[in-house]
Structure formats: structure tokens, C-alpha cells
């Protein structure tokens, strides 16, 4: 059972942005969906699944890639050939 406060917290973690007006509906829907997910409690075993696979790596050498202009083309905010982002500190 999740509460409106839980949903607000999850929205915060996910940087999703939520209106107080939406909280009731989301909470109600999450509880219905999570009730359905409870069927997984009947699954036997809880060891993390491992697979017999190995990572595929390539040599760390520069390969052709997009030009700076192409990379910047879709960025809404830029300055001096760099992408501008919101402040972190």
C-alpha cells in the first residue's frame, strides 16, 4: 500500500514533477497495479539471476564519431561550442 506521500517522494526521486491534484489518481492506480504485482511473492527463489555471458569491449582507441556541430545541433542552450546545463551547485 503506497500513500500520496510515497508517490510524492517517488516523483521527487525520478525528477518527474507532480501536481498535488494528480496525487490521488496516481496513488489509486499505483495501489491497483502493485496489488497485481504481489503475485510475484509466490515466485520461488530470490537469488539474483546470473548469466554465462561476458562483456564485449573494444580497444580504447578513437573512432570516427559525430562532429561537434552535429552534436550541438539539437541542444537548446549552448555557449562557446559547449552545451549549457542547469547549475548543479
Amino acid at each position: 500500500m503506497v500513500t500520496e506521500k510515497d508517490v510524492e517522494h517517488i516523483a521527487e526521486l525520478a525528477d518527474i514533477g507532480i501536481n498535488t491534484g494528480e496525487l490521488g489518481t496516481f496513488t489509486h492506480q499505483f495501489n491497483a497495479i502493485l496489488d497485481y504485482f504481489d503475485v510475484l511473492d509466490q515466485v520461488k527463489g530470490d537469488t539474483t539471476v546470473t548469466r554465462d555471458l561476458t562483456n564485449i569491449m573494444r580497444e580504447d582507441v578513437v573512432e570516427p564519431s559525430l562532429s561537434r556541430d552535429e552534436v550541438l545541433k539539437n541542444a537548446a542552450a549552448q555557449e562557446d561550442g559547449f552545451i549549457k546545463a542547469p547549475r548543479v551547485m
Binding site: 518527474i16 530470490d46 539539437n74
Partner: protein, 433 residues
């Protein structure tokens, strides 16, 4: 290479397209001059690619997805980008930020989803074939609802490079067409190893369909005809299966006990992967601008609230919750164990039978706005998600009508035996045409 242009100005009465290339370049090759539509979550160099989301409005990819590059090399004319549920999250194409696509068989109904625009463009005769993507049934569901053929290839058979990721352990790009033959031809072009996708396999597809099911053993899982499946749909599919028997296949009843957990395992897995994959949409590198004067959390929240639709926000939050401290073991770990059980069930069955068959969808196409509750919408994916969890090939081929609407016969096969799945669908199609 001799370059040409194909003129393409369709009467898009079904809202199948989000972008149209009125003059589409094409060349020589296996698909010379053939109009191919591409789902809008597959990157196309120079053509706007939005995933039917406001958060990617205006995004022009600087590169082609590998599958698109292969289409161009084969001479195909990429004539447009098709409508879909935002980021592939839906079963009806109603979750598009740019309005729903209508079903060409009955415009008061949905075309299915999430590749609904691709299905409608093919079913409505606007293009001969299209690319879709299938994470939990997103090719097979709209193929069934619109009366066309759609294949989810074996996981790894087609490169996902340039496919904008939603749930990368589940999704595959795949072909859609009006005939099995067209679907096979399109798979010939797009399948194969790509060094940009480390999950792609060196298993090119060079097969030409053979209409022969003699001696094949087909398992009929009881779960595919259980409660929740419309008896009329079940009846149409049973008739189709008896047709396969007449053609020389033998059928045996069987069971997939892990089906009980499959849908929950699927939705936990896909929402968890979505919460991670969609973290990249923050208005910095692409999409509507984030306010750089604000702190990053505030700026991102603002962009993501305005840019993502309700279903996308719901799934990101569900995935974030299922991965959060204290809940990871209950949801994500259990879902992965259940997924292994689904794989084990299929492996066991495929040691006894060559193929499995049943309905693609439990019902015919819903009416627009018929399903408003998210959980009841999720439940309609029950027959398609097992193939994604197990990574096996699965096709939907039209097999008749119920209440005047198309019904799809779903045929699933062993990993990398897409050829066998295609042959069985082809045998059925040729027998009833």
C-alpha cells in the same frame, strides 16, 4: 548507385504519420523504390524523430539507426515516421502526444499499439511495408488488430542501434507488411550483426518462405485459451490451427505454468528499465530547453512534467519505486526469477514441439477510449509478453474475423528459428488466400 525520388503524399485519414517525406530518395537493391514507413522511435538522419512525445519535439537525429541504414542501402524509400504510443508505452496508440491513430478496418476503433501508425499505414495501403518495434507485443498487437502480418524477431537478430531505448532487454525492431512474403523480405534486409549493438548476433536471415508444415509438431498452450480470452477470438484461432493440422502439422495440448507470473514480471522489468533509460530526457542535449538559471532538479522536473505524457510519467515512477531501496528484492529480483521460469518453460516445451500457437490478442480491437484504467490495459498484453521475456521469435498472421474485426494467429518458435515461424505463417496464409 542511381538515385531516384519517390513522391509520397498520402491521404492520412487515420493519423498514421507524424512526419511525411514528400520526396523520398530511393535507389537500387532488394527494396528498390518501395515505400517503407518507419516507427517514430527509430532514428532517421535528417527526419524529425519524436517517439510521439513532446519531450522530443523538433529533435532531428544526426545519424541513422542501423536498420534504417540497411533499408537505405537496399534502395527503399523512407517515406515517413509513424505514430505510436509515446516511447512505446501503450496498447492502443492513444498515448501519442499528437493524437490517436485510427484503425483502417473500423475508424471508431484503435489500431492497437504501440506500433499503431505503422500498422495503419500498411493496412490502409499507404505503404507496402513498415518497421515497428516490439517490447511486449507492440508489433504483433497492431498487426492483429489491423489484419496485417507482423514479426517480433528473436532478440539479437536485428540491431537496436538507433532505436530510442525504452526497455532494452525486451525490445526488438521488426517487419510489418500485408503478406508473410513482404515481412520475410524486410527481415532479410534488416537482420544481422552490428558492431554498434553488443547484443546483436551474427545470424543474418537469408530465407525465402516455404509453405510447408508437414511433420511439424505444434504445441497449443491451454493458457492461451483460458479466461479473459474472448470465446469468439478463441474459436477463430482454433479453426486456423485445425487448418495447420490439415496441412500436415500435428498439434498437442501443453501448458506454460509460469504464465501466471509473466505479465507482472514483464511490467516490473519494463518500468524499471524505462525509469533508467528515460532519465536522459532532461532538456539539455535535445528537446525543449531546460531553464539553465534554475537548479538542476527544478529545471529537469519542469521539463519532464511538461514533456512526458501521463502514461510515461506513471511508468517512470513505477520503475523508480520498484528499484528503490527496500522494494528491489520484492519486485525487480522476483521479476527476474519469474523471467527465468518463463524461459525455462519455453525451453522445456521446445524440446518437445517445434512451434507454439494461439491468439495474438485476447480480444478484437477496442473502441477508442474504451480502456481508461491502466491495469486493465496492461492485462490485454498477457499473450504477447511471454515471447519478449524469453527473447523468442513470434509472428502474428491474420486468421479471420470476429464481430467483423480481424483476429491474429500468433506462432512462436525456438530462438533464432524465425525461419520456421515464418514458414508456418506462410503455409497458413497460402492455404487460406
Amino acid at each position: 548507385m542511381e538515385a531516384h525520388e519517390l513522391s509520397f503524399e498520402p491521404d492520412d485519414r487515420y493519423n498514421a504519420f507524424l512526419a511525411v517525406c514528400k520526396k523520398a530518395p530511393c535507389g537500387k537493391g532488394k527494396l528498390a523504390g518501395i515505400a517503407v514507413a518507419v516507427k517514430d522511435n527509430i532514428s532517421t538522419k535528417g527526419i524529425e524523430t519524436t517517439c510521439a512525445s513532446k519531450i522530443l519535439k523538433g529533435y532531428i537525429p544526426p545519424y541513422d539507426a542501423h536498420a534504417v541504414e540497411l533499408l537505405r542501402h537496399a534502395g527503399a524509400a523512407i517515406v515517413g515516421k509513424t505514430n505510436m504510443d509515446e516511447f512505446g508505452m501503450g496498447t492502443t496508440t492513444e498515448n501519442s502526444a499528437f493524437g490517436p491513430t485510427l484503425n483502417p478496418c473500423d475508424t471508431s476503433r484503435v489500431p492497437g499499439g504501440s506500433s499503431g501508425g505503422s500498422a495503419a499505414a500498411v493496412a490502409g495501403n499507404m505503404v507496402r511495408m513498415a518497421l515497428g518495434t516490439d517490447t511486449g507485443g507492440s508489433i504483433r498487437c497492431p498487426a492483429a488488430f489491423c489484419g496485417i502480418v507482423g514479426l517480433k524477431p528473436t532478440y539479437g537478430r536485428v540491431s537496436r542501434y538507433g532505436l530510442i531505448a525504452y526497455a532494452n532487454s525486451l525490445e526488438q525492431i521488426g517487419p510489418m507488411g500485408r503478406t508473410v512474403s513482404d515481412v520475410s523480405t524486410l527481415l532479410q534486409v534488416i537482420a544481422g550483426k552490428d558492431r554498434h549493438d553488443s547484443t546483436s548476433y551474427d545470424r543474418p536471415y537469408t530465407h525465402t518462405p516455404v509453405a510447408d508444415v508437414k511433420g511439424l509438431k505444434i504445441g497449443i498452450p491451454g493458457e492461451y485459451f483460458g479466461g479473459g480470452v474472448d470465446p469468439k477470438v478463441a474459436g477463430v484461432v482454433k479453426t486456423a490451427i485445425s487448418r495447420l493440422e490439415e496441412l500436415g502439422a500435428t498439434t498437442v495440448p501443453c501448458s506454460i505454468p509460469s504464465m501466471k507470473f509473466a505479465l507482472a514480471a514483464y511490467y516490473v522489468t519494463c518500468t524499471c528499465e524505462a525509469s533508467s533509460n528515460l532519465a536522459r530526457f532532461d532538456g539539455v542535449r535535445y528537446g525543449p530547453a531546460a531553464d539553465t538559471k534554475k537548479s538542476w532538479h527544478d529545471a529537469y522536473k519542469e521539463v519532464r512534467k511538461a514533456g512526458f505524457g501521463t502514461e510515461v510519467r506513471r511508468r517512470i515512477m513505477l520503475g523508480t519505486f520498484a528499484l528503490s531501496s527496500g522494494y528491489y528484492g520484492k519486485y525487480y529480483t522476483k521479476a527476474q526469477v519469474a523471467r527465468e521460469n518463463v524461459k525455462a518453460d519455453f525451453a522445456r516445451l521446445f524440446s518437445e514441439v517445434d512451434l507454439l500457437a494461439g491468439p495474438t490478442m485476447p480480444t478484437i480491437a477496442f473502441r477508442l477510449k474504451e480502456k481508461s484504467d491502466p491495469l486493465s490495459m496492461y492485462l490485454s498484453d498477457i499473450l504477447t509478453v511471454p515471447a519478449n521475456l524469453a527473447g523468442i521469435p513470434a509472428i502474428s498472421v491474420p486468421c479471420g474475423k470476429a464481430d467483423g474485426m480481424p483476429v491474429g494467429l500468433q506462432i512462436m518458435g525456438r530462438p533464432f528459428e524465425d525461419e520456421c515461424v515464418i514458414d508456418a505463417a506462410y503455409a497458413y496464409e497460402q492455404a487460406v488466400k
